[in-house]
């Protein structure tokens, strides 16, 4: 398991005031792996992604990406290193066209001065066209992002991660609000991405998880509860207790 480790989360804690959102979580992810993170609401899934992408700095523990300690690296530098995040609420540039959104995402030249070296349109137009075809937005190229439908915005955001060739893709509920058809298409895109990219997907839709996942990590109250393939996780007594009996557990913790 130690060979080809792409991302290593090593005993991280996230504490807000006195609330512990993530407690001593540790796991390794191989290069090209597709890992699903599941767990009930408030389990710390999104916070874990926040820790990896740099939105939240851990109170304790380390995050090692491609052999480099990035625990205290600011988020924009992590992004340059190849950590790409797709947020739960889609985040695109509403005032820019679809193609402009992609051009911004494709930041081979991320610096102010080098960015003045040429018109943006001339940079990698073929690559943008290819990615637009992949996600089926080729006819929406010159439309402002604010005029896209909910599903299309999700595709656009995925296209933005594709065009920048991020090594590690963090997907927070990528199928939220999608129709069954759109969800299936998202699954196809993910299957195409895995191998080339390392993916961490936070998801509630178990059918979707079954479609895409190799390894599933279950979080509960900020801690890792189980890890393994989808069947072993679903058959785990503890996981079943957490999912089915969470109401009971909450009641128990009240007294």
């Amino acid at each position: 398991m130690n060979d080809n480790v792409h991302l290593s989360v090593d005993g991280v804690w996230a504490i807000f005031d006195r609330f512990v959102a993530v407690r001593d979580v540790r796991f390794n992810i191989r290069q090209g792996e597709l890992r699903c993170l599941i767990g009930p609401n408030g389990a710390g899934k999104s916070t874990l992604l926040d820790l990896i992408c740099g939105k939240v700095i851990p109170a304790k523990g380390n995050i090692i990406y491609e052999g480099k300690d990035i625990t205290r690296t600011p988020e924009y530098k992590r992004s340059r290193l190849g950590v790409g995040r797709k947020f739960q609420v889609p985040m695109v540039f509403p005032d820019l066209t679809v193609e402009e959104n992609l051009a911004v995402a494709d930041n081979l030249r991320a610096r102010v001065w080098s960015g003045l070296g040429g018109l943006w349109y001339g940079e990698n137009p073929a690559e943008r066209a290819e990615v637009l075809n992949t996600v089926g937005l080729e006819n929406r190229r010159d439309v402002k992002a604010r005029q896209l439908s909910h599903g299309e915005i999700q595709w656009l955001e995925m296209a933005m991660l594709l065009v920048r060739d991020s090594g590690l893709l963090l997907m927070d509920e990528p199928t939220a609000g999608m129709t069954a058809e759109e969800t299936a298409k998202t699954g196809e895109i993910f299957s195409r991405l895995k191998g080339k990219h390392t993916l961490i997907v936070v998801e509630h839709d178990m059918q979707f998880v079954r479609q895409i996942a190799e390894t599933v990590t279950v979080l509960h109250q900020g801690q890792i509860l189980a890890e393994g393939d989808i069947d072993s996780v679903q058959n785990s007594k503890e996981v079943q207790r957490v999912y089915l009996g969470s109401v009971e557990a909450e009641n128990a913790s009240v007294d």
């Binding site: 924009y76 992004s79 985040m91 005032d95 402009e100 003045l116 018109l119 943006w120 940079e123 010159d142």
Partner: protein, 377 residues
Amino acid sequence: MTTTGKRTLLGYVAFCGLILVLPFLLRGNSYLLNKSALYMALAMATVALSFTWGYAGILNLGQAVSFGIGAYAMAMHLKLVASAGNPGGLPDFMTWNSVGTLPLVWTPFHSLLVSVILGIGVSVLVSTLIGWFIFRARISGVFVAIITLALLVVVNLVVVTEQGLTAGWNGITNLADVTVGGVDIGSYGFGFYYLVGITLVVVLLLGWYATRTKTGLVLRAINSNTQRARYLGYDVAAYETFAYASSAGVAAIAGMYYAVGNSFASPTFMAVPFSLSIVIWCAVGGRRSLIAAAIGALVVNAIQGALSSDLLDVSNLVIGALFVIIVLFLPEGIVPEIGGAFRRIWTSLVGYSGARPHTPKERMPGQGTSKFTGGQK
């Protein structure tokens, strides 16, 4: 290049051509040439503001700081030239303020070249420092407006109180003409007009280029969704500082021309009403387009100039009313709205706009970006 890109470029060419032929339309009238040159200098400062405000979403209410630094740098040089015959080459106002010898900060301004470099350099340096602090601290939207306004008030106060150095309220007056290589450029002839005009054209063309580079696109992206731009790996503060400082450099050049054209520099060049006027011109023309901002500055100033010769006190009222009407009914500014109207008429006449299927209207109810923060969310 996209169709809209070509159309915009055509607009630039037409505008620049108009600047070049205007002196012949004015039949060389030196008063009007001077006025036009002054308006073009103001247009330059407005174009610079449109770059920061319309593209990068930074509402800089202190644009007049940079403009004033440029104006004073030039005025100091021209005052020294005019005072060459005085005892010790000392400007008259220093004698009145019982300053015996030329202060050290004035000495570099004997040279025109050094004065120009200092005018632009100091302005860019000050903005880079201030921008660095503002944008590193992730201050945005209306707070940037407040800080830049406060900066303007402070700088203005310093200039007014340091009478021995700056001549205080009176400003630096009775300036010499600019001479480059022995040629007197004056401020009422073709020479001065074309100097300002060609600079404005160069600024517009450079601006056209800059807004279409990757950096220009990223500035618009930052304006549209700052957080997203940050996660994509852009050093947002560096981009914002770049926009703020480069705009300051252009404003300083505009200020220099303005001092030459007026033959004086006064604290009103870096006062709050003037600085806010630049914002108004920008909003009237259309802040999201450099050329629209330039047209806004020219149109408003021309109207104001024409009115003030007849109805001195009413002119500000008319301009104020114009501003209110435009903000209420044409929030994108007159130039984009008129352009849109022309396109609609053309489409209805020809039945086809010639462009790719255009999206009907960019503003939707409840989705329009806030007018004064450039869409900070």
